[in-house]
Amino acid sequence: MASGADHEDNLKNDSSEMVLDAFRWMVLARTFEDKISSIYKAGKIVGGVYVGKGQEAFSSALAVNLVKGKDIYSPLIRDMAGRSAFGEPLVDAARTYMGSSKGPTQGRDGNVHRGNPREGMPAMISHLGAMISVVNGILFARRMKGTLDDAVGATTIGDGGTSTGAFHEALNLAAVENLPLIVSVANNQFAYSTPNSKQFACDNITDKAVGYGITGVEVDGTDLVDCVNTFKLCVEKARAGDGPQLVVGNLLRLSGHGEHDDAPYISEDLRKSKLGEDCLSKAHNRILDEGWANQGDIDDIFKESDDEVKSAIHTAESEKVPDPYSHNWSAYSSSILNE
């Protein structure tokens, strides 16, 4: 049940503060990923680059509703904004892209496959749907140990990922166990090039929630305020013991699947539709309209983000890449197995 100081604090916060907080992370993510994209295009990043352009509002809105050190957040490929909002140091993101040996994966995996499970942020594997049951396990274990309290576990996925068996198994299990799980689905209409019409035959992804016997809600994923408020409610419900929450954000990715892809499969009409609106400029305008901040404040946010991004990338670039000769080439943690 809801208890504890964090929760009280959360309820006291009115959403404008959370919106501004989320907006800062959106700006940081957009600035960072624009920069990473240009470094990639200059041929200086090995491997792929997948960005969350257009999805920053939906991503950060979930994470600002979570409490670091207590809740679990298991992000996926388009969650730069959410990762930062949950407390991932920007330099760790830069290190993973730039292949620094000091990064959380030490060069063993790249780009979005970073995390810090000790701090409540599992590191994703590529296989879509596979992280949901890991979050289930963390919540399940805490409940068994009596340490769950009113913590929640949140994880994210795309429209295409909802077609996996892993998604189904994990949601069904979470429902059966009534776990405080939040699954956010960024419904950007395409999985790589595949439209939703080839992905599922129900009208809406929230229809799937009905089958699991859990709550499913839809939100305009381009509208930061809507996103923040929707997640706020869902997180509160999960904290209060109402079980898994499926939140579907309708939007469009304003990029290719990866930075190698110019997404010719997304029609001009769709790009110009409401789904294709840029959540960042929309949030910017809304904040000014509501008077939550002025243009000067916002300029400062952009400026600070710019500085932070430059410094993180500079740090990562100046660090050593991993050395195969001194690398610890063991997949076992137990020393007896390494003999």
């Binding site: 995390g115 499970p117 890991v134 396990g137 963390i138 399940f140 140990k145 994990a170 299990l173 943690s333």
Partner: protein, 321 residues
């Protein structure tokens, strides 16, 4: 008093649950019902919060175990049959087996696979999956052949900080009995010489150890002494013990109940030929099941897997060479 292989597995879990609050068991029908084979019989009554029924969701079961391990637990996942672990394959090889490598966080989970053929079980309730899981970095794969090993190795598996695939043989569940459980045991990762010999070495594991022993006893009447090495743990492989035996005998036959293509026996032969070629007096031999799915009818099934009979043929040929 006598105790079966199956009871030893139950007992090891009981001890682990008693000793360590971090241990829990998760699987289908394992709670109140005690499991399809009764390997958790009575444990739910003693530990109702840590012996828990899962839905039929092998992927989500293993994923959950990994999450619980991240939280410091030591889960045991029971697959109802080894064959169904294929549905949880992704979480085993890509999530569990890579966790430490990716994040420096250990993944102390044990996945119990009721493995191997019994008459009448057919293609989907008889498989030996050790090869599949051993192929992936980061896994430990055990396949105990005795009641004592079933007990001590399962306790070792639970205490190891890496994912352990525990292949327990269903044919041995009720067939094997011991007078008592061991207080001390060989470490799980060490092979054991089951029977000393001079003329050839058989390297095998799990239920095939017993087929090999029958063959060796028969050949002994004809004056041939066959040394038998029980690998116990197929990954890591204790190749030193295997090479030590071949140094004494000069001839080797590797036997596995699993399918013939690739696999544990192929790995053994490969390691022997590259590391102990000059110990060999004859080409190393290999025996596995036939290369078809596992048949249902007992007449077909007995023909499909290696038996004392087919092992004898192989050994006689090997000794003549």
């Amino acid at each position: 008093m006598s105790i079966t292989y199956l009871e030893a597995i139950r007992e090891a879990q009981s001890v682990a649950l008693q000793k360590n609050d971090e241990v829990f068991i998760y699987g289908q029908d394992i709670g109140f019902f005690g499991g399809a084979f009764k390997s958790t019989k009575g444990l739910y009554n003693e530990f109702p919060d840590r012996v828990l029924d899962s839905p039929i969701s092998e992927d989500a079961m293993v994923g959950l175990a990994v999450g619980a391990a991240i939280e410091g637990m030591r889960p045991i996942v029971e697959m109802q049959f080894a064959d169904f672990s294929s549905v949880g394959f992704n979480q085993i090889v890509n999530q569990a087996a890579t966790l430490y490598w990716r994040t420096s966080l250990a993944c102390p989970i044990t996945i119990r696979l009721p493995s191997g053929g019994t008459p009448g079980s057919g293609p989907f309730h008889s498989q030996c999956m050790e090869t599949i899981y051993a192929h992936y970095p980061g896994t430990v794969v055990m396949a105990p052949s005795t009641v004592e090993d079933a007990y001590s190795m399962l306790l070792d598996a639970i205490s190891i900080d890496d994912p352990v695939i525990f292949c327990e043989h269903k044919y041995l569940y009720y067939h094997l009995k011991a007078q008592q459980l061991p207080k001390k045991a060989l470490p799980a990762t060490k092979a054991r010489i089951v029977r000393p010999g001079r003329h050839a070495t058989i390297v095998t594991y799990s239920a095939m150890v017993h087929e090999a022993v029958s063959t060796a006893e028969k050949l002994s009447e004809d004056g041939f002494e066959i040394e038998i090495v029980d690998l116990r743990c197929v990954k890591p492989i204790d190749i030193e013990t295997v090479l030590g035996s071949i140094a004494r005998t000069g001839r080797v036959l590797a036997i596995g109940e699993a399918f013939p293509w690739g696999g544990v026996t192929a790995e053994i032969i490969s390691q022997i030929t590259s590391e102990g070629f000059n110990l060999l007096d004859a080409p190393p031999a290999r025996l596995n099941s036939l290369d078809t799915p596992i048949p249902y009818h007992p007449e077909l099934w007995r023909f499909h897997r290696p038996t004392a009979h087919s092992i004898e043929d192989k050994i006689r040929k090997l000794i003549k060479e």
